[in-house]
């Protein structure tokens, strides 16, 4: 049972995807049911695995040989431990809710069955990443996550923006994956294995096994997370990916794909924490270690995305930049050497961010695909349920006790406080930004008076869509009670009482907790002052330079398109020119041409006149005679 259940959890979505695409495509309802059934079954099986005595207590693996050649042995297996079980629970719970919600959201879609097939394929790929026991298998599913996200983001392929967004997401991810692959190759060549457990053992036996490349290997692997978790400088795909259907945004950009990067970092944390060592060529970086760089990147992403989110007008883009910012916090936590809090924040964030996206989806549906927040307003009365669930998720995101987000974020901030006061101060500023942009969103969308055509009568979506929202809201409220960090650390459950855990932040780091609450309060007050009853954004009028820079996403996207895209095009142009004019032209045609030219030259001797030939003959005979007689 302990080995069968994980296999079922992993393979059910694949079976659903295969069945839908091969057989049940014309039967829309059946296809949706298959897909939803697979992931919901996965959710219950994951819960059962938690409940099974001993299942969660110790890590175990099940594997079958996949490929073996020349000293490289790659198995296809499942690693079941606390980390993967927790992640599987997050993926199936949040993903399941989103699957059900999709049934309502995508109702009128022509390629309804295809949508669910892609959704199931994505779930399969994500669960594959979660259960992967070795680097190669993780890379396999890692790429598959990229592909299925490409299919989902570009689902409305007839819209050029959606097709481009899918392409961009895939390409940017590929850049990160390149680093990941090189990291895998480097680690394999130094340590002789790709298996996580084996690598950890070998590194523990001989901490210097990675030699001079230790830090480089860690950073190369981090590149993979840079792409998937959309960290600076590879963050640019995520906001564009909002072109996909809203449930896809909820799935990919809240619970699963972007979380995969953080999950992977937690999984290979032992490699990142290896003794820092730089090769001679990078000697000038001596003193920095991999975790420090990761911390800086996470923090920078958190602040940058928080700033950009302040000036976005598209409801989904605000949420997208908020996701970037929160992922920055998780990566920063990894960089602080704390995978536990990072995973805790990942779990809570998956719940409330998915809830925010589902709420946004309900609003977008109700307003007939209107996404500009300045054309919404006053939705609190029209859509009370959506309002309340959205508010709960917002409060969780802004770390208001006793919601789940409060505990996970306080934990990260407390570790920052203990390790590096500067990091804490900047992260605290990030908290202020979080509260500011989220309450701006809530005030503009739900507050004030309606700013839409009179005849539009927005209403709540049907029950199929509201139940998943309520389910996620419940999770968000209750998540604070879960002792994720303790669970991951391997402690027996239930040692600390619920009450002591709930009061934990106050007991351990009262200053941090109060500072965090103050940040939220400050952000809320600023939002209240700026946006209560506002009809348009007051910021561009007051600080036009700043606002326009933020609206243009700090000019990063334009800069990338211009310099990186441009230089790639120039390189391709150069290669194509060389191919056309030098290889096919000068070289190949040159050979052809020189043969032809020689022929033309020799032709001149063939005058056709007898006397010329006779003269040549005479000369020849004379030369021959001279040579013979001499």
């Amino acid at each position: 049972m302990q080995t069968l259940f994980p296999w079922l959890i992993l393979l059910l979505p694949l079976a659903a995807a295969a069945l839908i695409s091969l057989f049940t495509r014309p039967h829309r309802d059946l296809s949706a049911r298959l897909s939803i059934g697979a992931i919901v079954a996965g959710f219950w099986l994951t819960l059962l695995l938690f409940a099974l005595p001993g299942a969660a207590a110790q890590a175990y693996e099940t594997r079958i040989p996949w490929l073996a050649a020349g000293g490289l042995q790659i198995d296809f297996g499942l690693r079941i431990d606390r980390l993967s079980l927790l992640m599987a629970l997050v993926v199936t719970a949040v993903g399941g809710a989103i699957h059900i919600y999709s049934y309502e959201y995508m109702r009128g879609e022509r390629r309804f069955s295809t949508y669910f097939a892609c959704l199931s394929l994505f779930t399969f790929a994500m669960l594959g990443v979660v259960f992967a026991p070795n680097f190669v298998q993780m890379f396999f599913f890692w790429e598959l996550v990229g592909v299925s996200s490409y299919l989902l983001i570009g689902f409305w392929f007839e819209r050029p923006a959606a097709a481009d967004a899918g392409l961009k997401a895939f390409l940017v991810n590929r850049v990160g994956d390149l680093g990941f692959l090189l990291g895998i190759l480097l680690v394999w060549s130094r340590l002789g294995s790709v298996h996580f457990g084996e690598l950890e053992r070998r590194l523990a036996e001989n901490p210097a096994a990675l030699g001079a490349m230790a830090t480089v290997a860690g950073l190369l692997i981090f590149c993979g997370a840079l792409g998937k978790s959309a960290q600076f400088p590879l963050h640019i795909w995520l906001p564009d990916a909002m072109e996909g259907p809203t449930p896809v945004s909820a799935l990919i950009h809240a619970a699963t794909m972007v979380a995969a990067g953080v999950y992977m970092l937690a999984r290979v944390f032992f490699l990142l924490a290896a003794t820092p060592h730089w090769p001679a060529a990078l000697h000038f970086l001596e003193g920095l270690d991999a975790l420090e760089i990761i911390r800086i990147i996470g923090l920078f992403t958190a602040l940058m995305a928080g700033l950009i989110a302040l000036q976005q007008d598209d409801i989904k883009r605000v949420l997208a930049y908020s996701t970037l910012s929160q992922l920055g916090y998780m990566v920063m936590a990894i960089g602080l050497g704390q995978p536990g809090p990072a995973m805790f924040h990942l779990a809570t964030h998956a719940g409330f961010k998915a809830l925010l996206f589902l709420g946004a989806g309900a609003i977008i549906l109700a307003l007939h695909h209107e996404q500009d927040i300045w054309r919404m307003g006053g939705l609190r009365r029209a859509m009370p349920l959506t309002f309340w669930t959205f508010l709960i998720a917002t409060l969780a995101l802004c770390a208001v006790p006793p919601l789940g987000g409060f505990y996970s974020k306080e934990s990260i901030l407390a570790h920052a406080w203990h390790q590096d006061k500067l990091v804490f101060a900047l992260a605290w500023c990030g908290s202020v930004l979080t509260a500011l942009y989220m309450f701006r969103l809530v005030l503009v969308v739900f507050g004030g008076s309606p700013r839409r055509p009179r005849d539009a009568q927005p209403h709540e979506p049907s029950h199929i869509a509201t139940w998943p929202m309520l389910f996620l809201a419940g999770l968000t409220v209750l998540a604070g009670g879960a002792d994720v960090e303790g669970f991951l650390a391997g402690g027996a459950q239930g040692t600390a009482s619920l009450a002591s855990r709930l009061a934990g932040p106050l007991a351990h780091a009262p200053f941090v907790m109060l500072a965090g609450l103050a940040a939220t309060g400050l952000g809320f007050a600023m939002a209240w002052g700026l946006y209560r009853g506002a009809y348009r954004d007051p910021l561009p009028a007051r600080w036009s330079t700043l606002a326009s820079a933020l609206r243009q996403r700090l000019l990063l996207d334009a800069w990338y398109a211009r310099w990186i895209g441009g230089s790639f095009e120039a390189l391709a142009c150069l290669a194509s020119g060389v191919d056309r004019w030098i290889i096919a032209g000068a070289a190949v045609r040159g050979v052809h041409g020189s043969v032809e030219l020689t022929g033309r030259l020799l032709r001149l001797a063939q005058t056709g006149k007898v006397s010329t030939y006779a003269f040549a003959l005479g000369c020849g005979v004379a030369a021959l005679l001279y040579w013979l007689i001499r």
Binding site: R603, Q606, V610, S611, A614, G618
Partner: protein
Amino acid sequence: MTPVGLPHYLVLSALLFSLGLLGVVLRRNLLIVFISLELMLNAANIALVASARFLNRIGGQEMVFVVIAVAAAEVAVGLALLAALYRQRPTVQSNDLDALKF
């Protein structure tokens, strides 16, 4: 006055041969070219006969008969070809017959 020796014959033969060659190379009229060819053959004949006489070897004189016989046959064939050619193209100028270039 020195007696006429082998070198005199050979010089005469070489002069005749060169005249023949010049005629072949420079003249355009095919009949003249033909006569020049005969001149070259006969120049060779003089050299052969003279060498045979002075070296007391009869083989050279035998060869001359063969050459004369072949030359006669060659003249017959050559003139016939010229006549046939003249029916195709009414010219005896070799420059007009250059269809065989490249």
